[in-house]
């Protein structure tokens, strides 16, 4: 139970909001849940709903809207590559194809060993240094096939 495992963190988040507005804490609490379980599981969504006193449907809707909340289990490393138009003009679309080939999965999937999840995402505000990816939220700029291979090797060893 999230409430027991992360009691201090939850209390810290809730303290930022007046008690009658505690539903505003939904996003920080979902991040805690995602940290704890690796993704926003159905169980986690119901726990968060209970903590903030709203219907689980409302929490599910928020998880569904924001791409950084995962509804399915993800790999240890989540690689989000932007393939919006400006990035694509700098070769992001071809880069994604390479990533898929190299990892042996399609965008949106996780490698069978549970190590990597590849996603294509909307603008992450770094077109000037595209192709760009976030790996577990950390930016990697001006990626190439070679630098991607190196990155995978590093991550595989860690």
């Amino acid at each position: 139970m999230l409430r027991e495992k992360r009691a201090a963190d939850i209390a810290q988040v809730l303290a930022k909001y007046p008690p009658e507005r505690k539903r505003s804490a939904v996003m920080p609490l979902l991040y805690i849940a995602q940290e704890e379980y690796g993704y926003c599981s159905d169980e986690a969504i119901r726990e968060v709903a209970e903590i903030i006193g709203c219907d689980p449907t409302e929490v599910k809707s928020i998880v569904g809207f924001y791409t950084m909340f995962y509804e399915q289990p993800v790999g240890r490393y989540v690689i989000d590559v932007c393939d919006d138009l400006p990035c694509a003009l700098r070769g992001a679309d071809k880069f994604v194809t390479y990533c898929e080939k190299r990892l042996g999965i399609r965008a949106g999937q996780t490698t069978p060993d549970g190590k990597f999840t590849l996603n294509t995402v909307m603008c992450i505000a770094a077109c000037d240094r595209a192709p760009v990816a976030q790996v577990n939220r950390e930016y990697r700029y001006e990626l190439t096939e070679e630098s991607f291979d190196r990155m995978l090797d590093e991550l595989s060893q860690s």
Partner: protein, 765 residues
Amino acid sequence: MADLVNLTIDGVPVSVPKGTLVVDAAKKIENDIPVFCYHPKLKPVGMCRMCLVDIGMPKIDPATKQPVRDEQGNVVIAFMPKLTTACTTPVSEGMVVRTATEQVRAAREDILEFLLTSHPLDCPICDKGGECPLQNLTLGFGPSVSRFDYDAKFHNEKHVPLGDLIYLDRERCIQCSRCIRFQDEIADDHVLQFHDRGRGMEIITFSDPPFDSYFGGNTTDICPVGALTTADFRFKARPWELASTQSLCTHCPVGCNITLNTRLETKSGGYEIKRVMPRQNEQVNEIWICDKGRYVHHFTRAEDRLRQPMVRRDGRLVEATWEQALQLVGERLKAAGTSVAAVVGDRIANEDAYLVAKLVRALNGAIGMSPSVPAHYADVARAFGVGAHANLAHLGKGDVILVVNGDVEEQAPVWFLRLRQAVVDRGAALVIAHSRSTKMHRYARAIHRYEPGYAARWVADRSEELIAKESLKDARNLLIVFGDEQLDGPSARALAQGLANLLIATGHAGKADSGLLPLYPHANTQGVFDVIAGADRAAASNGANGKVGADLRSPICDSRFEVAWLIGVGDASDAPSAGFTVVQELFMTALAKQADVVLPALSFAEREGTFTSGDRRVQRFYRALPPLGEARPDWWIAQEIAKRLGHSWGFQGPAHIFADLAHSIPHYSGLSYEVISKSEPQWPPMGRGDLYYGGTVYDNTGGLGARYASDAERDPAGVRPYDGAAPEPTIAGLERRPRPLYRDGELIRRSAVLASHIVPAQEVA
């Protein structure tokens, strides 16, 4: 008026109150701006873009702050660079709206083309087909051909159960969010939301249980496409095959106006109800009904409805002709003399109760009500009930709503919706006194508690404290909603009297939007009381024996009579013991099985009549179905029995009976079928030809009803507080458990669609 705003729409001048939205202002001059997401009962969101119009304002000179004029002296209008949503833009002085320009026409066509890119166009099998706003608006404003390839359509799940009562067709959905907003803003059950975004956006529920709301059916009415359908009606009929009859819901004291949609069914041997829909009456239910009212209709054509009179021969009930049965009842009544007791259920029409009481009075018998508790306080509710012109929509800031010992959502669901809006949207203060928690508690400013059964004692002891603490004397209005759960008759009476005293003490007695609102069990509790108690008063003033009304509060079920006549008492468990029992019913109830004669009655759907709602509105219902078998209306049966006893009344039907009733019952004088059948256009317009709903079921042509004045209104000088202390709770009272909406009963049991929702009597807590 100072806060009227003047504008022109397509050159037509219109003046509307400040804050009115352009779309509503246009409605006032019958300019229907097409909409999908906008609904006049919901807050605007501007999501669908269908209502785009061209809006301009007078150009203001920044230096002089005066409108700029051209050479001819006309005010120069500065139009917005792009089209604007009429549903989110409030009117302003001098505004010019253009809805008939080429730009607007093209915008509407574009929006429809987009909406139809993935709409399945399965109209031939869609429940909404024929009364679908998307169909209507496409025909009116859409492109004649689509540039999209049918094979390129985005397909989606078609039969998604959101709960056991509502199905979602994801590819028909146009994401207008009316259903989500209804559940959020009106029902306050937040069980529907959007999930994902863009092309992937869809309606979901993640609640447990899923879409489970007493008001869920309303989402299928306001859905502008066939995305939401009810488990009860889906694939059952096409809207254009249905006949509509103006009717009333019978299940609670609200008196919701409904439309019964019927169709000829060869296999069931006649017409049957295919669907129950709300009928607009802004003073009663607006355009809402609860799911009980929507789904409990199946009893009307249940296989086991009584179709033939039955008499007991050699210990067994066997079928008989009306002549045989009436003859027998007549003989037994003749032989019984005055040892006759009638018990009348509170679902039967005023006209039925009136003739039963008339006959019992002629026989000098006794009469009682079932359930008997409301008879103990219905006169108090009538004396201090809400004013003749009260409307829950009037309540808001400065008003206090006091709920005592009642569960408004369970016992009068549509009052719950309307009272909640008075509190949440318009700022009325809610004070609750109850022995347990209810959904209404969410909105309370103050909550008071007492032990179960002690409601009357609590009110008697704490009134002064309550008046001071909640500043009840300073309130603009004081509306008191009260229930009788866990109270016996004397305690329920003491509670009603204590609350009436509270109205008097705070100066609210007799005020238009103040007064008592009783949570009676059924649709005609007040009416049956009025009619049988009032008939007695008339008799008393004529010098006749006043026994009828005197017995109303006495426990006739504890006495023994020669003949007991039980009319529509349903699954009531107690009855007077008698040498000979006649039961008039829809079903072979436990009491009917024990009876000597069982007479088959017609349901409300098969006849006409009137009900008096919990707030004393007398309303008409009309015949939707042909009679079933040999069953007859209760008034007809009473008149035929009277005939066997030598009373030839010669009433031709309910209208004729009502004229006599209104003549002899003082509270009903001035009321007639003509008065209560009057209708007037409702605002917001929601009926025929309107774009918010493609069908005609909301049309109210059967009458808005009329409320008779309370005693406190009629005779303010005669208002006196009641005296007498509240009695101790009794076991009998405590055993009257709270009544949940889906409590088990003879009628709800016949609706398979609600089977999993029924709360068995022993589990009621």
